[in-house]
Structures are given as C-alpha cells and as structure tokens.
C-alpha cells in the first residue's frame, strides 16, 4: 500500500494512468505522500473480525426493481444535444484525435 518510498513515484504514475488523470511531475511527490497517509488509515481494517462475513455491496436488501418493458419518452434529441460543444445533423462533433 504505497509504503515503499522508493516506489511511490512509479505507483502514483501507474495509478494516475489507470485513473485517466494527467499528473504533473512536480505534483507526484505531494500526491504520493497524501495517498500514503490515506492508505495507512485503511490498515485498521485488518483488525476487523470479518471471518465468515459476506461482503455488503448495497444497503438495500430487497434488490433492484425492474420496470415494465414499455417505451417511455425521454428528453428529445435536441434537448440532449443542447449542452454539447458542437453538433451536426444529429451527431456529436468531437475533435479529430486520430489521423
């Protein structure tokens, strides 16, 4: 858990890459220190008596409810595209990123 200080820079860069975040090289050390502090907090969980306890993913015990399989009206295409920076003929226009 980010405890090997030699490794922290590489781990922060690896995590940032997985998380889809660009991290400025100058910020890596500070981010690593803060993350190490937070992850150290989690070590207390090792003392919890979890033997035989099922993981709880959600507070609702009843499970998800399905709706009827019928067509419903959502917002119109115009309304959904209104916040987009650019649209054309009903398509979202995005910057060219592949040549």
């Amino acid at each position: 858990m980010l405890t090997d200080s030699d490794d922290i820079r590489a781990q922060v860069q690896g995590l940032a890459s997985l998380a889809g975040l660009a991290v400025a090289p100058a910020a890596v050390d500070a981010i690593g220190r803060d993350l190490a502090d937070v992850l150290a907090l989690f070590e207390a969980l090792n003392e919890a008596p979890i033997e035989g306890i099922e993981p709880m993913a959600h507070p609702l015990s009843s499970g998800l409810r399905l709706r009827d399989d019928v067509v419903i009206e959502g917002p119109s295409r115009e309304a959904l595209q209104a916040p987009a920076p650019a649209v054309q003929d009903g398509y979202f226009l995005v910057p060219r990123v592949i040549d």
Partner: protein, 517 residues
C-alpha cells in the same frame, strides 16, 4: 480554543414584519392566512441573498425573473384554492441537483456552464408542491469535502464567524439557512454532507433512509451511499419538505416503494398534548463519546440527552463494537464507487475538454486533470487503487465485509432501542485552511456520520447549543424507513429548547435580525 467564548448571535423570535425570522412552517401559515404573499417572500429572500451573500458565497446563481413569475403563479393558484403543501415558499437547491432552467455545476470546473436537459425528481416534486426555486447553492466539488473549501467557485463562509468553514459538502445549503437567506434548501449526504454542515452552522438537516428520495438527476458520487434530503431551521420544516420529495420514482431503480407517511401531520399538536417522548428508548453508544471528541461538544450533547430524558425518553447504553472501522471502510468504498461514477467525465461524453489534444489519451487525461480539483482527483486515485488487481480482495472486499459488520451492529442495537443519539461531529467549525493540507484530518470530521451511510439508515442533525462560540449538532440515527421517530424526537426537543431560533448577528451578517431588506 476557549470554551467560554460566547456565540455572536441570539435567539430571535418570529417577527412577521421580517419574514426571514419565520421558519418554513411559519411562512406557510402566513401565506395561508394571507398576511404575506409568495411574491413578497421571494422578493425578501432574493434581496437578502443579494445583500448578504457576497460575504458568504453560499449561492452560486439565482434567477429572479423566473422565481418571481413562479411566485406570482403560486399566489394565483392559492387564490383559486389550489395551493400545494409548499405553495409560494422559496428554496435553494444544492448544485448537485440537475435543473433544466438553471446551470448545474456540482461545484466543479468540470461542469462550469453546464445546463442539464433534465430536472432532478426531487426538484420537480418540490416545485410540483408549489415551492419556488430561487437558485443553486454552493458545495464541495462533486460532494467531496467536509469544509466547503473544495468548490471550484470559491469557498463558502460560516455565518457564525468570519474565517470559519460551514462544513460540507452541503456547505452553501447549511450556510444560507443559518443566515436566513431562504427558509429551505435541498442537500445530499454521502458520508455526512447534510448533517455535518447542519451541525457546524446551527441548523437542522435530515438524511432520509437510502432509497427514500429519488437519485434521478442527482449527480452521482457514491451510488450505494448518496441520498438527497433537506436543511431548514426546524425538524417540523424538514418533515414538511421531505414529505414532498420522498417516494417511489420509476426513473431510479433504487428508489423505495415504501409508503411515505405524512411526517409533518404526525408531529401532532401541542394543544392535544403532543409534547412528550414517553416510551421512547434512545440508545447512547459510548463509542460516540471516545477519543477525538471535543469535551465541550460532549457536554452539550449530554445536556441535550438529559433534555430528551426529561421529556420521558429512556436513555439506554448500546454497543457499536465496530464503530472505529467506519471511517476506513467508508474511505475505501465511497472512493471506489466515485472512481467508477466519475469516469464519464472525460471531455467527450461529459465535462470540460482541454484544448489542443495531441491524441485521445491526452484528451482524456488532460481534460480530467484540468476539470477536477485536487480532492476529487485524490479520491479517484484512492478508488482506482482499492479496485486494482492485488488490492481488490485485501482492501475493497474487506471493507465491504466490515460494512456488513457495522450494519449488523446497528441492527442488534435497534433490537432494544428506537433511536440512537450522539454528536454529529467531533468538534465545531474550524478555521478555513486548518485541515486543507491534511486529508486524513479532514476525513475524521465524518467520524460519527459515515455509519448511517454505510448502513443506509436515516439520520439527522439538530442544534443543541454552542461550544467555543460555535454551534453544536446533536445527531439522531433511526431504523430504516423510520424517519418519523427521528423527526418526532427532534421536534419534541425543539418544542422544549430554542437553539433552532438562534441566528448569527455578528459582523458577517450586519443587523440581520432587525433589518427589513
């Protein structure tokens, strides 16, 4: 801090000539009696926001024209005898709720300028009941924060003392209620974001049971914790507003189909003897009074418990043996869910897009780095870490097992008590900047609040006095779907005390209690 510092404020009686001194309920009564109109209430609230909010930064935007037009419509509806429960009453929405007529930023640069094509169900229901939306309230970015300092649009102040934080993440909602800029604000609570700022600002807030209020149109942080609620000055006001918001919504598969009681009516009338709490068993966990709790805060909370006992309630010691695992379990699971939810903000599907991307990866990673603030990025990194191969079992699944241990503790405790009480936060509002370089110290603000979110239980905070000159909150936690007992307990306390009537009257709010703006 000096425990003997006096609060810079006083208990202000209801004065119909100064509508902001009236609670939501009292404003509703004035509208029904015809002594005030919806237009007058909205004008008064908008004028107070314009005059007083520059010192607080609790409100991000208003739409006076729309609000006044809707207030006029509400007054006309009332004249026709068609007034809904909240007809003509002004409110402000936390900026996490999508509103098709107003910007929705979630406190983030990522969503600066965003206008949602939809309106959140909670907002739509309050408006259908006649409430008038004044504008949107500031908040910690993506609801991540306990101080109101993490908004991309500037920190919010605490009206009780310049330079102190209002708590978070519903920082604007709590601060604007404390300053009496409006009688009601919506808020959300993922780990304490309604209760902790309500405590820090001396106001009343309720996080209902997970599933009570639809999450449709409420921007997601941690989907198995997030729950909408309200902040107001009294429990009676919370009951009235929650009644309009709650209930099954086809647009949220996790919204509950449990019956929505008439919570406001169930509070009863003191004239009929509805003043006591005889038979109520209040659990007091010593785990809520251990290391880390400010001594003066503890004194105020124990005084409040004595008041409840004086009303006929029985105080019962209860054990919550896994309480100390709440913070680590929460700060594993909530960031894990956040890292997943926030992956949609990539500069293409949603949110800010960087300029001059050289390739797709550059576009994604730079857009996200520019759009998200430091705390949001930290939580995304934590969440990514605990979900990554090698840590998933050891960290994430372990935290989920601990989550069940904590839920089992509460279930056991609720076998012998009806409500669990303790402090909302371990201390009072701190100075701006005091914890901003120490994420762990900031997270410990949520020491007593995360358990209710881990378990999906309803919980509220109500003012119970002052420590170091700043408000103290009493927290009540209830059984799932038993908001009624929480609201009744809080209301009886407020019938017996006047802490909810205390208003800040110091430098940050010049002669606020006497002014007729």
């Amino acid at each position: 801090m000096n425990a003997s510092v006096e609060p810079d404020g006083r208990a202000v009686p209801a004065d119909p000539s100064a509508p902001h001194t009236l609670s939501l309920h009292e404003q509703a009564a004035a509208l029904a009696a015809g002594t005030l109109s919806g237009v007058e209430l909205v004008q008064h609230a908008l004028a107070r926001i314009e005059r007083l909010d520059p010192a607080l930064n609790s409100v991000l935007c208003t739409d006076p024209e729309r609000a006044l037009a809707r207030a006029a419509d509400a007054d006309a509806a009332r004249a026709r005898g068609e007034a809904g429960a909240l007809c003509g009453l002004p409110l402000v929405h936390k900026d996490i709720f999508c509103t098709s007529g107003l910007p929705t930023t979630c406190g983030s640069r990522m969503l600066a300028g965003y206008r949602s094509p939809i309106t959140a169900t909670a907002v739509a229901r309050l408006e259908a009941a006649g409430a008038i939306t004044l504008g949107k309230a500031n908040m910690d970015e993506f609801a991540m924060g306990s101080s109101g300092e993490n908004s991309a649009f500037g920190a919010t102040g605490n009206p009780w003392r310049a330079g102190t934080v209002p708590g978070g993440s519903s920082s604007g909602s709590a601060a604007l209620i404390a300053a009496r800029l409006a009688p009601l604000a919506t808020a959300t609570d993922t780990g304490g974001s309604i209760r902790q700022p309500a405590a820090f600002c001396g106001v009343t807030g309720i996080k209902p049971t997970y599933g009570r209020v639809s999450r449709y149109g409420m921007i997601a942080f941690a989907s198995s914790f997030d729950q909408g609620g309200v902040i107001a000055t009294t429990a009676q006001d919370c009951a009235l507003a929650l009644g309009a918001m709650a209930g099954l919504d086809a647009n949220d598969a996790t919204s509950s189909d449990a019956d929505v009681p008439d919570w406001a009516a169930a509070l009863g009338d003191p004239a009929d003897g509805a003043t006591r709490l005889d038979g109520l068993r209040i659990g007091v966990p010593e785990a809520f009074f251990g290391d880390g709790l400010d001594e003066t805060v503890a004194v105020r909370v124990r005084e409040a418990l004595s008041t409840l006992a004086g009303l006929g309630a029985t105080l019962v010691p209860v054990e919550l043996p896994n309480q100390r695992f709440g913070i680590p379990a929460y700060y594993v699971i909530a960031p894990a869910e956040a890292s997943s939810n926030l992956s949609r903000f990539d500069g293409v599907r949603f949110g800010h897009r960087c300029d001059d991307a050289v390739d797709l990866q550059d576009l994604y990673t730079r857009s996200r780095a520019e759009g998200f603030g430091a705390e949001v990025q930290r939580r995304i990194l934590i969440g990514t870490h605990v979900l990554s191969a090698g840590y998933y079992d050891a960290c994430y699944l372990r935290a989920q097992r601990v989550r069940r241990l904590i839920a089992d503790d509460f279930e056991r405790a609720f076998g012998s008590v009806d409500v669990i009480a303790g402090p909302t936060a371990p201390g009072v509002a701190f100075a701006r900047g005091a914890n901003s370089g120490d994420p762990v110290a900031m997270y410990l603000n949520d020491l007593y609040t995360v358990a209710a979110n881990l378990c999906g239980l309803p919980a509220m905070s109500l003012p119970c006095g002052f420590a170091h000159g700043m408000p103290v909150g009493l927290q009540l936690i209830g059984r799932a779907f038993d908001e009624g007992t929480l609201l009744r307990t809080a209301h009886r306390y407020q019938q017996e005390s006047d802490w909810h009537r205390w208003m800040p009257t110091g430098a940050i709010l010049p002669d606020t209690s006497r002014a007729r703006t």
